[in-house]
């Protein structure tokens, strides 16, 4: 019973949570530094996933090998998108950039649909034998990879933000942009770094999701809501909070379908994504600063 719970629900929840976390970090960083909600972030994940697919097709290597390439390429595209579509709007009210991000979301998605078509695809992947722990807990190797790589990326990001000059500058701009300017911080470099990180992590999240399930062109759009829920839950502007928030939302979504009482699922699996929304609304009403005291809108 407990083992079944862990194997079929908790593990899935953690994996999903990792994917949400990778996207939510970008959303939260972008909000902290550029001060607008980036609704195209989900589609940036789709882009990463499909660039990974292109990499697999071209090189014939497994997706793990092409992952860094997909991340780098997506990061580059993210910087280009900023330059073309968000930078010109920097002096307009922030809400204009939010509207633009909806347009960008659509452009990314339709570009992918034009290039790759709308068929459901997958990275070539053989049958995976679960790893057996303590004779009871079964973990798929790809889940180990996803969780492990997420930990590596998150720890790496945290080290970057805490230790490096540029990372600290990012935190400084997020904390107080006008003081950052007065201090002589190069805001342009900070903005580029933010897009590079946001794009790269989004790509990783997209590839992981494509790997765990399948690739379709709406993959990222469907993540937008849970990722915003995660960012708000963790506290806007707080990368660690976004990770926690992602895990909470991911696990909550999976657990919501667990038959806690008798044989009936607590919530029909069809309504999984409503869980994120419920968490979001609840959070906005009860504690808009999030778990880690982020910025209030």
């Amino acid at each position: 019973m407990l083992i079944d719970f862990i194997n079929n629900y908790l593990m899935n929840g953690i994996v999903l949570g990792c994917i949400y976390a990778l996207g939510a970090i970008g959303i939260t960083l972008l909000f902290g530094i550029l001060r607008f909600s980036h609704f195209a972030h989900g589609d940036m994940m789709t882009l990463g996933a499909y660039l990974g697919l292109a990499g697999v097709w071209i090189t014939g290597q497994p997706v793990w090998i092409v992952l860094p390439i997909a991340m780098a390429a997506t990061a580059g595209v993210a910087v280009g998108i900023d330059r073309a579509f968000y930078h010109p709007l920097r002096n307009a009210p922030t809400i204009v950039a939010v509207i633009a991000s909806f347009g960008v979301a659509l452009m990314i998605r339709s570009a992918i649909q034009v290039i790759f078509g709308v068929e459901i695809r997958s990275y070539a992947r053989g049958f995976e034998r679960p790893i057996l722990l303590f004779d009871a807990v079964r973990i798929l190797p790809r889940h180990v990879w996803i969780i492990g790589l997420t930990v590596v990326l998150v720890v790496g990001l945290q080290l970057f933000l805490k230790m490096t000059r540029l990372g600290k500058a990012m935190r400084a701009v997020s904390d107080n942009p006008s003081l950052a300017r007065v201090t002589g911080i190069n805001t342009r470099a900070v903005v580029i770094a933010t897009w590079l990180i946001g794009g790269a992590l989004a790509a990783a999240g997209g590839v992981f999701l494509g790997l765990d399930t399948q690739l379709d062109t709406n993959l990222g759009w469907n993540l937008v809501l849970p990722m915003f829920a995660a960012a708000v839950l963790g506290g806007i502007g707080q990368p660690v909070g976004a990770v926690l928030g992602g895990l909470v939302v991911g696990i909550a979504e999976e657990l919501a379908t667990y038959p806690f009482f008798g044989g009936q699922a607590l919530l029909s699996p069809a309504y999984k994504s409503a869980v994120a929304f419920a968490i979001l609304i609840l959070m906005l009403i009860i504690r808009p600063t999030g778990i880690l005291k982020g910025r209030v809108f």
Partner: protein, 235 residues
Amino acid sequence: MSLLLEARELVGGYGGTDILNGVSLSLSREEIVVIVGPNGAGKSTAMKALFGLVTVRSGTVWLDGLDVTNAAPETLVKRGMAYVPQEANVFTTMTVEENLDMGAYTRRSGIQAAKDRVYTLLPALKAKRRQPAGELSGGQRQMVAIGRALMVDPKLLMLDEPSAGLSPKVLDEILDAILAINRSGVGVLMVEQNAKAALSMAHRGYVLQGGKNRFEGPGPALLANREIAELFLGG
């Protein structure tokens, strides 16, 4: 005595409205110079104009003989000008040490030496260096803000109302620190509401009114001027 900063006939303001209608001032490297004046006189605006935060529509600013009118803050920081804003002048989510690191953002070397110097000048900061600046008291924050500005080894330190919201005792500590900084060879330009405290320690002072120079002279002399006292309590 060579001039470190000279500003001549500055006119400018935000958007379309001019707040400065011809402000001139100068300062040498050895000096503490204070700008005082009633509310709305354009004191803070004048300082922001020197630091490139307010557009100067006419007039010139020279720093060390170089024309820096309307230069970007980033450039000015690199040329040895440091500015402490009046409000929100620390990164609250970062530790004291990280605030100092940010102050050193434009420099590549000598960061540790600069930090040591700040800790010598502002010893109170050393004990707090791992604490987030947002958790500090008003006076301590002001110290952090000054320390952050000192990290570039500035030739000129500009402070916008360092006394705002501080109790007299804490203010004394801040002013003592400013004196020590000046003695270490940094020119200091301050805007102050607290004219008595500021003028009593300054080498020279400027009194602004209506965005123009009204009086100027040695600090104590201005302080003794009855007309200036009247200006503050309404003349």
